[in-house]
Each structure stands twice: as structure tokens, then as C-alpha cells.
């Protein structure tokens, strides 16, 4: 398997780095399946009448859109964990910050239609008797500014946090613990009303995104497709990074950090770069998630959520990227079913899934796929030989 991967990087290593993934079989299949799924859901939703057994209703489209934003988040985590060996247990923080940036824009779009009818202040600020917007809410009425913040705010946090951590060569378990502490600290901070982010309730009651009514089915379908496209773009970007020489430096860092440093790479800068890219993708995932679920509150910062993301990646298979997507969708689909049927059993089911996969499929679902592919290959080879 490894030899075929190397052969692929050989033949495509002359190409421009961003278009390199398109030459890869795995990426072609992934994009093909993703776009086929987007198309299928769209057609089944629009073309079939309600009540038809194959009709996909708006609720399900919305649910799929949520899964896709989780999948993008999982890809971001796999980029740093699978290829760089940095087990971030705080990626939920970047996801939530991207979500809050989007939420602030959506809050400003409500305008004077809120319960208190204030043209500028969101309801919770009126409730707290604030008379003007805090400075950090300025500009969020403009879509371009808010969308820029969706990427820049998590990116900046990752830059500062990563700079301090990687410069001091904090890696391994210690890094995992401080990322966990980071997201926990942010959760406590966002719970406070004085922070100006809606406290415990967070931001909700959204109405419009870019003028489209968030409660209409067409907008939900549009958001679902937009999330799918964002996932495709995020996947291609990550794939381009991991198939470049920089990706090989990342794998080298993961396996032998001191050695990589010794042959002249400033390891901490590579770690910081990839960490920031990953945080921005997580922020984008959060921003696509919020308008689809209609709320963002501090529970997205909870340490448990960040650990769950890592579980998706582990279940799907580390260091493949598409494994992260499979894992995120599978686990969340199971979660939807379980929490509907037996809400109390969900955590046990998640635990059981994790144990079973670790024992039976140490390389996750993606590892199983690769294994089946190789078995098929070795099964067809002898036939050719005898023929």
C-alpha cells in the first residue's frame, strides 16, 4: 500500500500543489461520491412529492447538512492529528468561535424584529440593560466582515495559542491537555453574561442569512449544498497540503520530530501553519453549522464535544481524511437514531462502538476499506496468472 502511495506522489510531484489532489484516485472517488450524494438528496427532495416513500423531507436535508459540517470539522482534526501527530482535544473551540462569528452576523440581521424591537441591540443586550453595542460587535452587520471573521477569529486564536505552545516545544499528551483546558476556559468565559455573547442561552432566534429566510426549505437545501461544497473544498485543500513536500515534512515531524528539526526544518513553524489552517477550517465548519441548527451556545465549547470529534476521526480511520468524513457521518447518524430510540443508551453505544472499532479495526473504517481493496486485488491477481 505504502509503495503505491509513493508511486502516486512520484508521478504527480511535478504538478502545481493545489491541483495535485485531482490526479489521485482516492480524491476522485471521494469527490464523486460526495457530489453524487448532494445531487441525489437534492433531486429526491425537490422532484418527488411529499408522502412519496423516497422523498427526502426538509428536516432530513437539514440533518444531512449538519452531518456535512461535522465532517468538515473532522477533516480539520484529522489534518493535525493524522498527519502532524498533534492530538488536539480543543478543536471544538475553533468550531464554536467560527459559529459565534456567524451567529453575531445573524443576530445583527434580525434588526428591529426582535422581541424588544431595538433596531441595533440584540434582545439579550436589551434584557441586560446595555445601551450600546460592545466594540467587538461592531462590523458584524456587514456580511463580508462577519465571513472574514469566521476564518480570522479562530485562525488568530490558533496562531497565538500555537505560537506559545509549539515555540516551547509542548507536544504529545501535554498539548492535548492544554487544548482541553483552552476549550474549557472558553466555555466558562462564554457562559458569563458580561462577555456579551448571550451567556448561557447563546445566540438564537435567527431569521435571515444574506436576505434568505432561514426557515424556508429552499434556504435549508441551499445551506446543505453550500456545506457539501465547503467540505469538498476543505478536503481538496487538506489533500493538497498532505501530498505536498510540506505534508511529508508533517509526517516526518509526527514520527521523528527531533530528526526533522536536525535536517533543517523549523518544526514549530510547520506545526503552527498546519494548526492555523486546521483551526480556520474548523471555524468554517462552525459557521455553516450554526444557521442550520439555529443556535450557538457555550455547550459547543464543552470538552466532551472536542473529545467526540477525535472519536469520529478514530472510528473513521486516521490519516486518510476521507476516513474522518466517514467517521463523522456514521457516528452522528448513529447518534441521531440512538438519541431518538433510547436517549439514555447513547453514551454506552458510543463507548461500545469505540471499543469495538479499536479492537477489531485498529485503522478504522478507512483501514477496512483499504484491506478489502487489497484482498480483491490479490484475489484477482492469481486468476490472471492462471489464465
Amino acid at each position: 500500500m505504502s509503495s503505491t502511495i509513493s508511486l502516486m506522489t512520484q508521478s504527480s510531484s511535478r504538478q502545481f500543489w493545489l491541483t495535485r489532489p485531482f490526479g489521485e484516485r482516492a480524491t476522485q472517488i471521494f469527490l464523486g461520491v460526495l457530489f453524487a450524494a448532494l445531487l441525489l438528496v437534492t433531486v429526491l427532495h425537490l422532484a418527488l412529492p411529499q408522502g412519496h416513500p423516497l422523498h427526502v423531507n426538509a428536516y432530513t436535508v437539514n440533518l444531512f447538512g449538519k452531518y456535512l459540517s461535522y465532517a468538515l470539522l473532522a477533516v480539520a482534526v484529522d489534518l493535525v492529528w493524522g498527519y502532524l501527530g498533534i492530538l488536539s482535544l480543543g478543536h471544538g473551540a475553533f468550531f464554536a468561535i467560527g459559529g459565534y462569528a456567524m451567529g453575531m452576523y445573524l443576530m445583527r440581521q434580525i434588526g428591529d424584529r426582535g422581541t424588544y424591537g431595538d433596531p441595533v441591540l440584540p434582545d439579550f443586550m436589551v434584557f441586560l440593560n446595555w445601551d450600546s453595542l460592545p466594540w467587538y460587535w461592531l462590523g458584524f452587520d456587514m456580511a463580508w466582515f462577519a465571513f472574514a471573521m469566521v476564518l480570522l477569529a479562530p485562525g488568530l486564536l490558533a496562531l497565538v495559542f500555537g505560537f506559545l505552545a509549539f515555540r516551547s516545544r509542548v507536544t504529545g499528551v501535554y498539548l492535548s491537555i492544554i487544548t482541553q483546558a483552552l476549550t474549557f476556559a472558553l466555555m466558562l468565559a462564554f457562559f458569563r453574561n458580561e462577555m456579551g455573547f448571550g451567556g448561557n442561552n447563546g445566540l438564537t432566534d435567527f431569521r435571515e442569512l444574506l436576505g434568505y429566510n432561514l426557515r424556508s426549505n429552499d434556504t435549508r437545501l441551499g445551506l446543505f449544498i453550500a456545506t457539501g461544497v465547503a467540505l469538498a473544498l476543505g478536503y481538496i485543500l487538506c489533500r493538497a497540503i498532505v501530498t505536498s513536500k510540506l505534508g511529508r515534512v508533517c509526517v516526518a515531524t509526527r514520527d521523528a520530530e527531533a530528526r526533522t528539526r536536525f535536517i533543517g526544518y523549523r518544526v514549530e513553524r510547520f506545526q503552527l501553519f498546519v494548526f492555523v489552517v486546521s483551526a480556520m477550517l474548523a471555524g468554517l465548519a462552525g459557521a455553516l453549522y450554526v444557521p442550520q441548527v439555529g443556535i450557538i451556545n457555550p455547550s459547543e465549547f464543552s470538552p466532551i464535544f472536542s473529545i467526540e470529534i477525535v472519536l469520529w476521526v478514530a472510528l473513521g480511520g486516521r490519516a486518510t481524511l476521507y476516513g474522518a468524513v466517514i467517521g463523522a457521518i456514521l457516528v452522528n447518524y448513529a447518534k441521531t437514531i440512538f438519541t431518538g430510540v433510547m436517549p439514555d443508551a447513547w453514551l454506552f453505544a458510543l463507548g461500545a462502538m469505540f471499543v469495538l472499532v479499536t479492537v477489531l479495526l485498529p485503522k478504522g473504517v478507512a483501514g477496512l476499506l483499504l484491506h478489502l481493496k487489497r484482498r480483491k486485488k490479490s484475489a484477482t491477481l492469481p486468476k490472471e496468472a492462471t489464465a
Binding site: S6, R14, F16, R259, T260
Partner: protein
């Protein structure tokens, strides 16, 4: 100011127009020059008034019993350890004591550690690619492509270290000896002027040792090679000049025959060790 001056001086070619010569100046003597170097760790003198010179293109073997300061000496040359006293010069232009590890490495001092560390998940080819002297900042690395020139260079090193047929195999499946050669290949990709090789044949089979001896003697001349080794048979097979270290200083220096007949050397090292080795 200096640019203006160089424009107005008429007696020579403008400085900035002159071709960049190799930064390491060996016109006036040895490539490595260590004088009166001492290091102590918590009172223990690991290196004690060490004097050592390595000529350009020389293959030098350094032997000595455990604790003689061989590894500490390499640490000083590569900038990992700072000596308490003395001076270390690379060519006649670079004072190694004023430089940090990455700068020393990019100047052309390559070091192979005792335990081979290759990137096991990457192929042999990719290992060499990463080790190559190149712009190692983030964006040049992200956009880097493998040109024909780079490919030729990697193929040349693959031939030298004898791993051409295994180029697409992950380095993790290589045997111990092959990993050592790959490590030497990774050093060669950086086009070093001076190679420091720590115990290259530890754990190798006879055949692998022979192959390593050929490899190292083939490298000398093009670059200077310093080999630290315990295996006397191996040292005898490659060494032209041997330095014996003892208690942090040079005990004897000369051809293998000269040093092995030196009574001081026999007393501290060779006698005892030969019996063990035999």
C-alpha cells in the same frame, strides 16, 4: 554606505558583483580546527584540553574507551554543547562557537547518530527528498516540485548508498544496515563538507560492514569524514589516520599500526578491548 564605497573604489571588482565563493574557507589549512577545548558537566571534565585538526577530504577514525569524550566532541562541533574554554573553527572563516545548530548544519556539517532514525512511514526516495539542501521555509516547501535536477541528485545518492532498487519502499521495512546507509544518504543530500559518523557498523553483519567500509572510503576525498567507532577490525579496514581519545584529550594520533603499537594506547584501551572483541 558600503555599497557606495564599493562603487567608488576603483582598484577592484565590486564586491556584490563577485561570484559567491564557497562559504567555507579551507585555503589556509584544515577544515576543522579545535584548540584547547574543555567542557565539564557538574565538575566532571568530559573534554579536557582537546586539540584536533581534520584536513579537507580526510577520512579520520576516532577511537577511545567509553567516556573518552567522543560523543561530547561531536556535540561541540554540531553546536549542541557549548565548551567552557577553547576555540573551534570550521575552515578559517567560521567560528562554530558563535553559531547555532541549524546554522552549523546548513554550513555543511552533517551528523549521523548512533541509532538510525529514518522516517519510517515515508519511502526511501521521500526520505532523501526531505533531507535535500533546499529552501526549508513553509511556503517554498508547500509549493515545492520535484524537478529533473532534484530527481537526478536523489538517484545519484541512491546509487551511492546502494538502495536504488528499494527507492519506493517505506523506510520502515529496511534492515538495520540499510537504514544506516539511508541515513548516510540523507546526510549526503545536504552536500556536506564534513560528515560526522557515530558508530556506523554497530549491529551490522560482516557483509554490511564491508559495504559500509566501501561507502565511507568512497566518500572521503569529496568530503571530510570523521568516524567514531568501537569495532577495531572495521577501523583497521578503513582508517588512514586514527585519533585515540582518552579522558577527554588526545592520547595518540597516527596510522593504525603506529597507534596500536603505542604502549600508552595499549594500556588504556586496545589491549583490554581487543580481548573483549576477540
Amino acid at each position: 554606505m558600503s555599497l557606495l564605497q564599493s562603487l567608488t573604489t576603483r582598484d577592484r571588482v565590486f564586491d556584490f558583483m563577485a561570484p559567491q565563493a564557497s562559504p567555507v574557507d579551507v585555503r589556509h589549512g584544515p577544515i576543522l580546527y579545535m584548540e584547547d577545548v574543555s567542557v565539564s558537566f557538574d565538575g566532571f571534565k568530559a573534554i579536557n584540553n582537546l586539540n584536533l585538526t581534520i584536513d579537507d577530504g580526510e577520512l579520520r577514525c576516532i577511537i577511545g574507551p567509553n567516556g573518552a569524550g567522543k560523543t561530547t566532541m561531536m556535540d561541540i562541533i554540531t553546536g549542541k554543547t557549548r565548551p567552557n574554554a577553547g576555540s573551534v573553527w570550521f575552515g578559517s572563516r567560521h567560528n562554530l562557537l558563535q553559531m547555532n545548530e541549524p546554522d552549523i548544519a546548513s554550513l555543511g556539517i552533517g551528523r549521523k547518530f548512533q541509532k538510525p532514525t529514518v522516517f519510517e512511514a515515508l519511502s526511501v526516495f521521500e526520505n532523501l527528498e526531505l533531507a535535500m539542501a533546499a529552501d526549508k521555509r513553509i511556503f517554498p516547501t508547500l509549493t515545492a516540485r520535484i524537478t529533473d535536477e532534484i530527481k537526478d541528485r536523489i538517484n545519484e545518492v541512491l546509487e551511492t548508498i546502494g538502495l536504488a532498487e528499494l527507492r519506493y519502499q517505506p523506510a520502515g521495512i529496511l534492515s538495520h544496515g540499510q537504514k544506516q546507509w539511508l541515513e548516510i544518504g540523507m546526510l549526503l543530500m545536504q552536500r556536506p563538507r564534513l560528515l560526522l559518523v557515530d558508530e556506523p557498523v554497530a549491529g551490522m553483519t560482516e557483509q554490511e560492514m564491508e559495504r559500509t567500509a566501501e561507502l565511507l572510503t568512497g566518500l572521503a576525498g569529496k568530503q571530510s569524514v570523521v568516524v567514531v567507532e568501537h569495532d577495531m577490525g572495521f577501523v583497521r579496514s578503513i582508517a588512514r589516520k586514527v585519533t585515540v581519545l582518552h579522558q577527554g584529550g588526545v592520547l595518540a594520533e597516527g596510522s593504525m599500526d603506529q597507534v596500536s603499537s603505542d604502549p600508552k594506547v595499549v594500556e588504556v584501551y586496545l589491549g583490554a578491548d581487543d580481548e573483549e572483541a576477540a
